[in-house]
């Protein structure tokens, strides 16, 4: 307690060197996180988005964490500074932007938080971005490569670090989103028992979620018409565009997937098909709509596509 007070006092004083800043910040992370969390709570209350429950508390902690992470990195370039003042200004600047939080009441359910965590991570991580195709639609590497019309070099480039997502990235994302192991188990259970219900829920929430995170899209990445998509694939350009936009736009994804069914070697219509955990290496993959959450129904086909796919 006394240490906390000492650090709080020091965080109000001027820090003159980068080294001093790093040392002080490293020792004051709890105070900084609490301050950022408190400011986030205040913002949520003032915008009538606060609920007095553990979900909102977790949301505030998550946003406080992201603000402190930026502060730790940006702060070194602002020395000399008063750390608390700098953190406050950084928070104020973040919250003064339009729609800083992806807040929607229905995204506070376990499945909403799961989707939100994946999408917010995909905005900054290429590993998470490419993994969206699997978590949302059940597309493996082979499917995605064919759907996006990538060659071998492009495929290796976008999937080269996918193993990292499988090993640590997914778990870290879940941890940072605040989804506990029991909540993930409940989701898995629901996906096994009521796959249609859960997929319907995902299908309903995806536009809300994607419209928020797609704002991260550069200005020159709008939705394209069917004709322009066709031209883009025919002329073989815009590879980054395909990955980014199709991962974050359900309508365009379904349209392109429908159009390119022949290339993807599937006769079934593509649809939302939630997967909670990342695909195990060498696992059995499911094609469009044939498998819901890894569970096989009736005589739907399951294809072993690739043992080395992500």
């Amino acid at each position: 307690m006394r240490d906390g007070q000492i650090f709080s006092a020091r965080l109000n004083n001027v820090v003159t060197t980068e080294r001093e800043f790093d040392e002080l910040v490293a020792k004051s992370l709890p105070e900084l996180l609490d301050r950022a969390t408190g400011q986030t709570k205040r913002f949520l209350r003032e915008t009538n988005q606060w609920g007095d429950d553990i979900t909102h508390e977790k949301l505030a902690l998550r946003w406080g964490y992201e603000l402190v992470e930026r502060f730790v990195v940006f702060g070194r370039t602002e020395v000399p500074c008063r750390p608390f003042f700098l953190l406050d200004s950084l928070i104020a600047k973040s919250f003064s932007q339009p729609d800083p939080l992806c807040y929607h009441k229905e995204l506070l359910t376990p499945v909403g938080r799961f989707l939100d965590g994946l999408a917010s991570r995909a905005v900054v991580s290429r590993d998470a971005l490419i993994a969206l195709f699997y978590h949302f639609y059940g597309f493996s590497q082979a499917h995605v490569v064919k759907l996006l019309g990538f060659g071998q070099a492009e495929s290796q480039r976008v999937y080269k670090n996918f193993e990292r997502w499988r090993q640590t990235g997914w778990q870290r994302t879940m941890n940072e989103t605040g989804l506990s192991g029991s909540e993930i188990e409940v989701l898995e259970q629901e996906l096994r028992t009521k796959p249609d219900h859960l997929n319907h829920e995902v299908d309903r929430l995806m536009p809300v979620l994607q419209s928020h995170y797609r704002k991260s899209e550069p200005e020159h990445y709008p939705c394209l018409s069917e004709q322009k998509w066709g031209q883009l694939f025919h002329d073989d350009y815009g590879h980054d565009y395909r990955v980014w936009h199709l991962a974050f736009c359900r309508d365009c994804f379904l349209e392109v997937a429908d159009r390119r069914q022949a290339e993807v070697s599937s006769g079934l219509k593509p649809q939302v098909n939630l997967h909670i955990h990342p695909l195990k290496k060498g696992g059995v993959l499911a094609l469009f709509g044939g498998d819901r959450g890894g569970r096989h129904h009736g005589n739907t086909r399951a294809h072993r596509l690739s043992r080395t796919s992500a």
């Binding site: 406080g64 964490y65 992470e69 730790v72 932007q97 905005v123 900054v124 590993d127 991260s216 980014w244």
Partner: protein, 431 residues
């Protein structure tokens, strides 16, 4: 709210924050993701021959810049002012990225330049004073230092070559070594002298280097001061711009308010005037209707008046006839006034009625005195009724006998002072 789940989550986030520097450093930078205001705007390929990235933003200035590696870990970045310039160098892995942000109020531009860490040879070369022009960022700013270093290198090289030139032939010709001992000693002596000279030159060079370094440091300090000054000026300008904008907005607001007030006042005044005008119009209408009623009443009264005149004239004629017919009887019976006590009062009553009924209007010649007028009235046994109106006098007379009023008036007209006579009883004749 404190629950074990929340506490665990908080502890986990603190661990992640604590682990952030390690995670940022563990991945070798190859493709760096560039995010401006939390929007991904492109990638910086650090393996490229020219690892640079430029971006221009429209509408919004570049306020948050994040540099993340492919797995999404935040490895660098900065916040920039809404308007103005910001230049920083952030370490990324073993290299660094130079960030230059130039902002204005409706957009901004960004330039990133990745510089890989120098290799072991570069470090070694720099440690012995051999620095290449490309790897030394201070070379351009300290030409004196560079020239001095180059000169020192040349002198050292010449010294080494001279020594080698002296010694190598000796090493090659070992058999003649004894014979050449003296020459070698002499050569060594001369070499020693050369070395001493080189040492002296080196000492001079070291002094020159120290002076150059001092000059360079003072120049760097000045540049830093200038940068600080420029930042201060930029901040002041930014504040001034903000104030100008706010003042302009205030002026606009005030103008709008005044215009609205004037408009409201005008509207109220116009409404009031309109209401007054309507009231006046209604009053005029009512007055007009009253006037018309009065005109009708006056016309009615005039017509009644004419009727009364006609009746009066008729009655006068009848009375005259009546007076004319019984006169002999009255004269014959003049001796018996007491036998017919009722007849005389009736006749007198008629005469009295006749006398009282005749009134006329008379105008006199100019210069007629009031006394002459009074005399004439007395002579006529008349009475002036009311004051003079527009030169006309109303006179009521007792006619001496039942003669017609016309004849009486003719007699009046014959008077010298009389100018005109009329019989209107209602009002004086208009001039």
């Amino acid at each position: 709210m404190e629950t074990p789940e929340l506490t665990d989550y908080r502890a986990h986030l603190l661990d992640a924050l604590d682990d952030q520097p390690r995670r940022a450093g563990e991945e070798r930078p190859e493709f760096l993701q560039v995010l401006v205001n939390h929007e991904r705007v492109g990638t910086l390929n650090c393996a490229h021959t020219d690892p640079s990235f430029t971006y221009s933003a429209r509408e919004r200035s570049i306020q948050h810049l994040e540099i993340r590696n492919e797995s999404g870990v935040l490895v660098g970045g900065c916040v920039a002012p809404e308007a103005g310039q910001k230049s920083v160098r952030v370490p990324i892995g073993k290299g660094s990225v130079a960030i230059e942000v130039q902002n204005h109020f409706d957009g901004g531009s960004l330039k990133l330049q990745y510089a890989a860490a120098p290799g072991w040879w570069s470090n070694l070369a720099s440690s012995i004073g051999f620095s290449s022009a490309t790897s030394s960022p201070t070379a351009a700013t300290t030409p004196v230092w560079t020239m001095t270093t180059a000169f020192a290198q040349i002198v050292l090289a010449v010294g080494v070559v001279a020594l080698l030139a002296e010694r190598v032939p000796n090493w090659l010709n070992a058999e003649d070594r004894a014979h050449q001992l003296e020459e070698e000693l002499a050569a060594r002596q001369s070499t020693q002298e050369q070395i001493d000279r080189v040492h002296q030159q080196l000492a001079q060079l070291v002094e020159a280097q120290a002076a150059a370094v001092a000059v360079s440091r003072s120049e760097q300090d000045r540049i830093a001061q200038l940068n600080a000054l420029v930042d201060t000026v930029a901040l002041a300008q930014q504040k001034l711009n903000t104030q100008v904008v706010s003042v302009q907005e205030d002026l606009k607001t005030v103008k709008t308010d005044v215009a609205q007030e004037v408009e409201t006042g005008l509207r109220v005044a116009v409404n009031t005037v309109e209401a007054d005008r309507e009231l006046v119009r209604q009053d005029l209408k009512s007055i007009k209707s009253v006037n018309e009623t009065l005109i009708k009443q006056v016309a009615l009264l005039e017509s009644r008046n004419r009727e009364l005149h006609a009746r009066l004239a008729l009655t006068s004629l009848e009375v005259t006839k009546a007076n004319a017919a019984p006169k002999p009887a009255v004269v014959a019976k003049g001796d018996l006034p007491k036998e017919t006590p009722m007849a005389t009062p009736v006749a007198d009553g008629i005469r009295e009625a006749d006398r009282q009924a005749f009134m006329f209007w008379v105008a006199f010649q100019d210069g007629t005195t009031e006394k002459s007028i009074e005399d004439l009235v007395q002579e006529l046994n008349g009475i002036k009724k009311g004051p003079m109106k527009s030169g006309w006098y109303s006179v009521e007379v007792n006619l001496p006998n039942p003669e017609p009023p016309d004849r009486f008036l003719e007699s009046v007209k014959r008077a010298k002072i009389v100018k005109s006579v009329v019989t209107s009883k209602a009002m004086p004749p208009a001039q």
